[in-house]
């Protein structure tokens, strides 16, 4: 399953909540705080990283304040050896 995230322009958001029912993963909530216009902006609450980057929230957003990012598949690469050594040394030093 693809994963992603959204970034909401909190100053532009008017807290209309159209994005909430549009989100299939239900990871959008309204913030408790207010923006400068006095609205409670929408925010991404996604502790399990279940956002798929489907962009349905952005499609229905009347104020165009949502930018959608989708994670790209990563090739497995190991860290360079000196980094490993340094990391281990650092861990030992801290321990």
């Amino acid at each position: 399953m693809a994963t992603g995230r959204i970034v909401i322009d909190a100053e532009r958001c008017k807290g209309c909540e159209l994005c909430r029912p549009a989100c299939p993963q239900s990871v959008i909530q309204l913030a408790e705080s207010l923006n400068t216009k006095g609205y409670r902006p929408a925010m991404l609450v996604d502790p399990l990283h279940s956002c798929t980057g489907c962009a349905l929230c952005a499609v229905v957003c009347p104020d165009g304040c949502i930018t959608v990012y989708r994670d790209l598949p990563q090739k497995q690469t190991s860290l360079p050896k000196y980094e490993m050594k340094e990391t281990l040394a650092h861990v030992e030093a801290v321990a």
């Binding site: 992603g4 989708r70 090739k75």
Partner: protein, 269 residues
């Protein structure tokens, strides 16, 4: 869409932008109420201008109504017409600048009431302009009065007991009406009440602009829209009302698609 984000020491891009605000929209905050689908319609038009890469050649004629400030929101050249006269002004603009893409953005109070003569004659003459018609069945800017497109029984500030057909007549179906005229090449109705319909509306707007780019004739897209403030609903309730009340009365569909437009995105297969 090609933007790639790099993070710290990683050489591979971690993520890519799949949706962002179209560049044809100015970086300003709109005056529209929370949840008003005018903003959605603006964004769809701007996305189409971006996709077709015609922003530099586009001229907007904005109307009177809630959309009166649309010249502040689209990053295109624009002028403001008198109430209802946007198609007449667009006619002049297009005839003087036949190489430009000219579109009007009008609400139902503007297009279907005071501007009925202008829109019908622009369509009858086959003016090569595109009309984005936002129908929310009420006068939004002036405080929620009855519009020509208000439903029967709909309570507004000027019909507090509901619209009465004996007194105020029947609502006008503009997409069907304009489809009857010979100069019209594209007349469709779409809705903005959920993501699927928003995407369908975008395809229709694209086809309408393509009809103008190909110099075919008059194209109009009617968008069923919401007015949460004057309907007295929350934004999500308003979208539900669009789906349950407006869409059954104003059926979505393609009322006229010129054969030269067949097979394109948004046209029926």
């Amino acid at each position: 869409m090609d933007t790639v984000v790099f993070k710290q020491n990683h050489v591979q891009p971690l993520e890519k932008i799949t949706y962002e605000r179209p560049s044809s929209l100015c970086d300003v905050h709109t005056h529209y109420c929370p949840g008003c689908t005018h903003g959605t319609a603006h964004r769809l038009v701007a996305e189409v201008l971006d996709e077709l890469d015609i922003r530099e050649d586009t001229i907007l004629v904005s109307s009177v109504g809630c959309s009166v400030f649309s010249y502040n929101y689209f990053d295109v050249d624009a002028c403001e017409a008198a109430h209802g006269r946007a198609p007449a002004m667009a006619t002049g603009v297009k005839r003087v600048n036949p190489g430009k893409i000219v579109f009007t953005y009008q609400g139902d109070g503007d297009l279907a009431s005071i501007g009925t003569a202008e829109i019908i004659h622009a369509a009858a003459r086959g003016e090569k302009i595109t009309v984005i018609f936002v129908n929310n069945a009420i006068y939004g800017m002036t405080g929620g009065q009855m519009a020509p497109t208000s439903l029967l029984g709909q309570k507004t500030t000027s019909s507090p007991f509901g619209r009465d057909a004996q007194l105020a007549g029947m609502p006008i179906h503009m997409a069907e009406l304009l489809a009857q005229l010979p100069g019209t090449v594209y007349s469709v109705r779409r809705s903005l009440h959920d993501a699927r319909h928003v995407l369908q509306a975008k395809k229709a707007i694209r086809t309408a602009f393509e009809a103008q780019i190909d110099n075919l004739g008059f194209s109009v897209v009617e968008l069923l829209s919401s007015c949460p403030t004057n309907w007295g609903m929350t934004p999500n309730e308003a979208l539900t009302w669009v789906e349950e009340a407006l869409v059954p009365f104003y059926p979505l569909g393609d009322y006229k698609v010129d054969e030269r437009l067949q097979g394109r995105k948004g046209a029926p297969k």
